[in-house]
């Protein structure tokens, strides 16, 4: 069963997932790219991102250089497609075409609406290549702060084939933290 969200203590993703986010960031060039992060939560609050679903940036073209918006109906569609699985939408990603991967004041305002959710930002700082990637979360308590989430290594020995889901890509990335154990995460089909 999907675990009730608790305080997010860390995050990880498989290498192909990270590669896919970087590819999306490059493809969007000067505009902000965005999408959904799909994955699982461990009992200790570590979020494992196993795939992404890129989504159109629904802001008007003239605003996409520094704003992004995801169609909420797309989120509903993806959550519906995950109902029988152990996975869920665990967060969102977006890109900063020319700034640090740090939440802006506007980002923080919307993060407040999404507790227990990972916000990955890929930022091209002064043209840095590849982009720098950091993840953030806002604690749900009133007045809770936005904090950076430490990155862990994904479980070893986990093999996934690439999957495309309406333009989404799945896969496997190496992070600089502790190595997660696959057994920490729920797996298999969810019981009805």
């Amino acid at each position: 069963m999907i675990r009730t969200p608790s305080r997010v203590t860390g995050w990880a993703w498989f290498e192909e997932v990270g590669d896919a986010v970087v590819a999306e960031a490059r493809a969007a060039a000067a505009e902000e790219a965005c999408g959904l992060l799909v994955g699982r939560r461990s009992a200790e609050g570590v979020v494992l991102v196993t795939s992404i679903v890129p989504t159109p940036n629904t802001e008007p073209p003239e605003r996409r250089r520094n704003r992004f918006m995801i169609d909420p109906l797309r989120l509903l569609e993806v959550e519906k497609s995950l109902r029988e699985s152990e996975e869920e939408v665990v967060g969102f990603y977006h890109t900063h075409p020319d700034s640090e991967p740090v939440p802006s004041p506007v980002d923080r305002r919307f993060m407040e609406l999404w507790p227990h959710t990972v916000w990955v930002i890929a930022g091209f700082t002064r043209g840095s290549e590849p982009p720098r990637i950091r993840a953030w979360c806002r604690d749900p308590e009133p007045g809770g702060s936005v904090r950076e989430i430490p990155r862990a290594d994904p479980p070893t020995g986990h093999v996934r084939g690439a999957r495309r889901d309406s333009g989404g890509v799945t896969g496997g990335a190496k992070g600089p933290g502790r190595v997660l154990n696959e057994a920490e995460f729920p797996s298999g089909k969810r019981k009805k």
Partner: protein, 93 residues
Amino acid sequence: MSVTVRVPSALRKLTHGRGELEAEGATVRDVLAHVGRENPDLLARITEEGGELRQFLNVFVNGTDIRYEKELETPVSEGDEVSIVPSIAGGRE
């Protein structure tokens, strides 16, 4: 009318872990009030003290945004699905 209310996984801490709630009511306002009786934390997150929807909070009935219907007075029918989705957005000022 009995309807199903769907809550995204990120907000399930506010619903005792449930992503699907059953509720009664003739309008979206009734349904949210019903859900709020058992889930006051969820209600506080999605509505203002006066009962109006908070800014950047989207509610859909069978996939149709209630802003294009009658807002909170949008009628619901038996078996309808009411979905609550905060806006997902960001960027620089």
